[in-house]
Amino acid sequence: MDTCIQKIREIAFQLLDKKEVERVIGFSNGTIPMATSPITIASKQDTEKLVFNSTCGLNLANYIRQQKGKIAVIAKGCDSRNIVTHIIENQVKRDQIYIIGVPCKGMINKSKIKALFEDEILKFTEDGETLTVESSLKKEKLNKKDYLRDNCRLCQHRNPVIYDVLAGEPVEEQVLDTPYPDVEKIAALDADARWLHFQELTKNCIRCYACRNACPLCYCPTCFVDESGPQWVGKGQDKTDVNTFHFLRAFHCAGRCTDCGACAEACPMDINVRDFTRKLNKDAFDMFGWEAGLDQTKRPPLDAYSPDDPNDFIK
């Protein structure tokens, strides 16, 4: 995947040089190991700053709304699905976005790698499928596929579903017999154990809302937790209020979530926020055969009435 960066830079350079776009949104190198940062580039000289590797876990579709003029954006499979969702939900116009698609072999699970070390990681490099990670105490060579994020391990849309140009050869899509093993595991618990699972999950939440703010779906001008007239949710650390935020946010994402993993990636407390959204993704698939962001011409299931909707109450 790192080989496609030259191609990305070339494309970005051409686009800016020919003034086909005003800016390119991509990733730049971070200041600490395993970090990259979203960046916007307006001059062709700056295209050298662009990078793309397995640490680019955020979703750049989150940065393309309310931009002036035509912009180019680098999009992995999931980012592209969120661009489709933005188009369906009238957040961007297709002709305003130039999509530089990147076939993706998955992003790394940074917490899992950090957990291998007793001290801080000092150096991280990536060479094809091999990750080399160093702290002051030891150096580890890791197989990237063993350290993929859970959503990437279970991803069935690694190639961009929509693009103007591809910056690499398409990769083979994974076909999974059980795409939702995590949901099934939680569903198999009895009610008390399930409740406990979610209590434990949100225990350390500090309500910074990084999950919400990293999510391309969460673009409400005022989120329900921020409403003050009337106020729907208490703002403190009361368990009920914390959970209300997580439950309701997940429901707002039903039938829209692409499981890009940006929420879990952004969480400073390592909460696997996807435990909430995944169940709803599975329901959308089981009930409506729907996966979000695959088709610009179809309305999402919770957004449309259909005579063959599976629920009785609507008939």
């Binding site: 970090a35 979203p38 940065y63 703002k235």
Partner: protein
């Protein structure tokens, strides 16, 4: 007695003994790192763990704190009259607090304890607390505390500073409060003052040598507020920011809070919660107008407050102790060291 040797074999017993007088706080390991928590029952502080994800500020300034209450029952004489939640003046001790966190508490004190106002909740908690710090022998790569006016063996704000010597702690008692805590633990093996201080000096120098990360703040003071405020770099710095409040929540020196009232049936409570200047709500007026409506304005506010307004107002350095938590936790890797570099080296073009 200025220096005390504590054999680690006696550590747990001594700490247990101190519970007769003190409520204890200290680092505890959890799923994603360590946290400074109330050490309930027989929990011991985990003195070996890496720096806590959140700072120690919550001991005096919890994320959510009930401060006032009243009854809404109009048959009661004092209905709707807010009363203070009974203060808790019981002695407490924070064990294993990092020197930069103790320094940060002194910076926060500038806000909560002034000539004009005394925040009773914070100040009462502060007065009841003994800070037992432990020097950092091996500072991590994010630590730039020496460039931020503190350091791995800084004594500011501490009552006791301990040095970890593998099998023992060497404790330097800095205040009477610290001495009282040591006595309550039964730690009374005096160590030679001169030798001990020499050892502390060596450890401090070794630790400081290990710090490779730094910031330069020397030119911030001579720049005008407007010069920096109007500088052209803020949009670029703010672009990647998602305006979560992570940086402010993990920060040991961020002190802003929000007041919330909650009512349940006939009882009402007033809470204060940590607030964050990253949120648009932070400055939103009741009229709907928001003077800090854009992301760039909010990001600028955070850095200007930490690195310029605070510096100008108090003349006690920057409002940052170099713990590096915000650098580590920021989901989009906005790095205060880089921002400080940009601000410090900025020259306005005529």
């Amino acid at each position: 007695m200025k220096f005390i040797t504590i054999d680690k074999k006696n550590w747990a017993k001594g700490i247990e003994k101190s519970r007769e007088t003190y409520r204890l706080f200290g680092p505890v390991k959890d799923k994603n790192g360590s946290f400074i928590r109330d050490l309930e029952n027989d929990m011991l502080p985990d003195m070996s763990c890496n720096d806590s994800v959140l700072s120690a500020k919550s001991v005096l300034f919890p994320q959510t704190e009930k401060i006032l209450f009243t009854t809404l029952d109009e048959s009661q004489k004092d209905h709707h009259i807010m009363k203070r939640v009974p203060g808790d003046s019981a002695k407490r001790a924070v064990l294993g607090i990092r020197p930069y966190d103790a320094k940060a508490i002194q910076l926060v004190k500038l806000n909560f304890d002034t000539d004009d106002y005394r925040d009773p909740y914070w100040c009462d908690a502060y007065e009841a607390t003994t800070f037992v710090g432990v020097g950092i022998n091996k500072p991590g790569p994010f630590d730039f505390s020496t460039a931020a006016g503190t350091g791995p063996f800084s004594e500011t704000g501490l009552d006791v500073l301990m040095a970890d010597l593998d099998n023992a702690y060497l404790a330097k008692v800095l205040t009477d409060k610290g001495g009282a805590f040591m006595t309550s633990c039964g730690f009374d093996t005096a160590a030679d003052e001169k030798e001990s201080q020499a050892l502390f000096d060596i450890l401090r120098k070794e630790a400081e040598k290990n710090i490779s990360s730094r910031i330069d703040t020397d030119k911030l003071k001579d720049k005008t507020v407007l010069e920096l405020h109007e500088a052209p770099f803020w949009d670029d710095i703010a672009f990647s920011c998602i305006n979560c409040g992570t940086c402010t929540f993990v920060c040991p020196t961020c002190w802003c809070f929000d007041i919330q009232d909650e009512a349940k049936q006939k009882s009402a409570s007033r809470f204060r919660n940590w607030d964050t200047c990253m949120s648009p709500l932070f400055t939103k007026h009741a009229t709907g107008h928001n003077p800090r409506d854009s992301k760039t304005q909010r990001v600028r506010q955070r850095f200007m407050h930490k690195l310029k307004y605070f510096l100008d107002k108090y003349d006690q350095g920057i409002m940052c102790v170099g713990c590096g938590r915000c650098v580590k936790s920021c989901p989009v890797n906005i790095d205060i060291r880089e921002v400080c570099k940009i601000m410090n080296s900025y020259e306005k073009k005529e």
